[in-house]
Amino acid sequence: MIKHHYEKASRRALNIIWNAAGRYDFDPCFMAFHSNGQADDYFNTIIGLTDKWLDLTEIAAFFSSYAAHPKAGEFDEFLWLGIEDFVYERELPERPALANMRKLRGEEFFKIQQTLSEQQMTMQSMPVYRQQQTRWAEVTGRHLPLLNTREKRMSETLRFSSNNTAGMDVPSKSADTEHVIRIMRVFLQEYFRYDPVADPRIKKELRGWKAWYSRLASQDYRQKDILLIRTGSGLGDPANAVAVRWEGRRAPQHSEKLDAENRAYIESLFGPCRFTETELQQAESLLCTGNDTGCRLWFVNAAAKQAGNARFGMALSDGAREERPHHPDPEIADTLQRMQIQYKNNRRFLQEHRMMINESIKKLSSELEVLLSSFSRGLPENGRTGHLVPEKAYRISLLHDPLVFVREGDVREMHLRVDILLDASQSRMNSQERIASEGYMIARSLLQNHVPVSVTAFRSLRGFTVLEELKGPDDTDCNGILHYYAGGWNRDGLALKAMHYLYNEKDRQPADDLRLLLILTDASPNDTVAGSSFGKNYEGAAAVEDAAAAVKSLRADGVRTAAVFHGSASHLENVYRIYGKEYIRVFSLQQFSGSVADLLQMVLRESGS
């Protein structure tokens, strides 16, 4: 019922949670979905209300404390039933509609149970099911199921509101949180003989969810994160939506052998590096310094990627059967197959929305045409012919200055080159089709105006920051962009530095008047490899500053850098910090073309001035 965060992100669930919490500036640690992938409005409201009435960080820390236990999922479901009871009672006087929502949720529970197959029923945890059944039967006024003594006591304990011994007239958030955590501990100790705090497998104190999560995702574990691709569509079954999976055991320390293994892994997934060994070392010695010490780079061009796909028998044409790529490593073969499926999802999305996408391309192309033609026209200038400027006429006889006319500026030859950088980290998993389509739309619109454009995806994985070219600047076909998929981390600073490096390469140094780098981003850089300025991970304000410094350096070299942002409101400050005012926020595909045109106009105008 309730899935851990990062397994499935859904804007709707988030909105329900934020609305109930009354604030929009936090990332909840839980979100609730029905088995069909739709957001569970009642339980998401409860999660939001938990933030309102209890300290959600403390509650999440408790949940995290037993995450390694084999029955963690079962515990979650029990404890959320208890919390539901508690926050429901607290909120009801202020929100009478909650009673109606609760009743509907109860009815829905029984409706869903009727549709479950025998197999699905057997997969459920029966103790959890019995408690849920009891709770929802009470709520909907049905006959209560027959419970044995233990189950009855369990059901009583899960009434967290009636177990409130704090006995305060005025509720206090910290006292309530303490009370709820105490009951949760008692519940686990009494019915499962388990105390998370005393568990030797987790030698840590409850010092907050963030601290624990940060340790879990620390550098020591990075060698084992596995690139997985979501198999469902954007609204698919959250059970199939897998983000970054962690191995349960600690990985061995960094070693040459491991480095070689990781490199082989990266090469298998993305294809060979476009640079020779010496060139790559040069690039790394220049770029992987300071904040990025210890990081590695990998540059893949579109042609090598295609060759790599063919090598493993990846069938990417529309009609091709989905055959499993024949790589000896089953894990890599699995990932390659997921890439293949994502490519088809991207294509399908493009097909399904082709009317709107074609219309947007047409609109963006025409706006770009006007923009580029006005940009290429110079400002009016003084001349010997043209319109007489009366107030300057005296200069002819007095100063013998013939430049008293003003004439239209000449049309100047202008070279514009655009590079699009797509954030391909796992946080983009639920927008993959959309991001691929957006990259496709911009690239097609620019191509129609004869502007060379390249599209590159970037992600960081196992310590490697990979720049994967999806469409080369000379390609006239934009279908390569549909190979976009999300997975891994995003070390924005290093990716931007690597792009900067590529700009300085010989083959990218024609006499361009203007180079524009457009980044489709969520402005939330993070990676599991730390750097000199970072604690355990590359994240937070320091990572934002690192990315901002990379953008500053690009701009100092004349590369106009702007961002198309679609992320949560909590990252708006980050995007402003990194890109200044040269960004737009996009909410839907419909508004995409108009927003991008506005952004390009802003960038080109500033370049003109």
């Binding site: 804007r11 709707r12 909105n15 329900i16 934020w18 609305n19 109930a20 009354g22 929009y24 409005d41 409201t45 929100r95 009478p96 509609a97 909650l98 109606n100 929502m101 409101a569 708006l572 926020r585 909410f587 839907s588 419909q590």
Partner: protein
């Protein structure tokens, strides 16, 4: 409709300002040939709630200043503008601005009366001549060049000079009240020359307490507990719009009041809110988000008899 001054007294607006309003009324009462303009005095169906804003607005009008009301949607800009005209008992000319607005739209244009070419005065001209309150709605929708003709009308010169026709002085009771919202599509910044001719009042979002009072006044039979839920619903939609999760389309105070009117007629709250609030946005995803907020506050089948005594 009782006198708006009584309402302002209840709002605890500074009595000195209210005396000023009474003096203004006495000095500029509509009499004689001006009687025909009485139909132009707004009825003030909706009253603006907010003492501080009232005091600022009254002071600006009494001091002879033109007023620019700026603020996001649902902050009561037009309500206040109408209420000001009603309060001072002056005829109002509502002028909706748009991108193709030009001088002839505002001041007037040549016309043919069958015998000769004559000047057909525009709303700004009429308002200036008759001493009305010109409400320049969404003033920043028009191009700044088109608005340049208003400069002499709005500043200390207080006159309009139409080449080839007569020059008129702006009536001492005439005031111009602009409204503008930066966020709407098609709006632009007002240039300095124009904005310097207005006293600018930033309109705050309506507070919980003021919205409660507004609903209580409009729907006296509404149950208090239900009224609180509608107020919180509006505040929650406002918060969602401010967090840029939805557009401002559904942030519609008029829509909320209309929905309550529909429930008064017997419609269930869910259907009424669907028609007057949720369907204001045409994006289906956005509608879902707004519906979630509504459902978490107001049960869909909440009936008229449950809402009103």
């Amino acid at each position: 409709m009782s006198d708006i001054i009584e309402f302002l007294k209840d709002e605890k607006v500074d009595p000195v300002l209210l005396d000023g309003v009474r003096q203004f009324r006495a000095e500029f009462s509509l009499a004689g040939s001006e009687e025909k303009l009485k139909g132009r005095i707004p009825e003030a169906d909706y009253l603006y709630y907010g003492r501080e804003v009232w005091e600022k607005a009254l002071a600006a009008v009494l001091a002879g200043k033109n007023l620019l009301l700026c603020g996001p949607k649902a902050t009561g800009k037009n309500v206040l503008a109408d209420d000001l005209a009603a309060c001072f008992r002056r005829p109002a000319w509502n002028i909706s601005f748009h991108i193709n607005m030009d001088a002839s739209w505002l001041i007037g244009a040549d016309s043919y009366d069958g015998n000769k070419v004559v000047f057909r005065p525009g709303p700004v001209w009429l308002c200036a001549k008759e001493g009305g309150f010109g409400i320049l709605d969404e003033v920043n929708m028009a191009r700044n060049e088109a608005l340049a003709v208003l400069h002499s009308t709005l500043d200390h010169r207080r006159m309009i000079d139409v080449p080839g026709y007569e020059k008129i002085d702006v009536h001492p009771a005439a005031r111009f009240i602009g409204t503008m919202n930066y966020g709407y599509a098609g709006t632009r910044d007002l240039n300095e020359a124009l904005s310097s001719r207005f006293a600018i009042l930033q309109m705050p979002s309506i507070s919980d307490a003021d919205l409660e009072r507004l609903l209580a006044a409009r729907f006296p039979k509404m149950r208090e507990k239900i009224r609180t839920q509608f107020v919180r619903l509006f505040i929650e939609i406002d918060k969602k719009a401010q967090s840029a999760e939805i557009s401002e389309r559904a942030l519609d105070l008029r829509g909320l009041l209309d929905a309550l009117k529909l429930t008064e007629q017997g419609l269930d709250a869910g259907d009424a809110l669907e028609m007057c609030l949720i369907n204001k946005t045409f994006d289906s995803y956005e509608r879902t988000l707004i519906r979630d907020v509504v459902n978490a506050r107001i049960p869909h089948d909440l009936s008229s008899s449950e809402i009103f005594d």
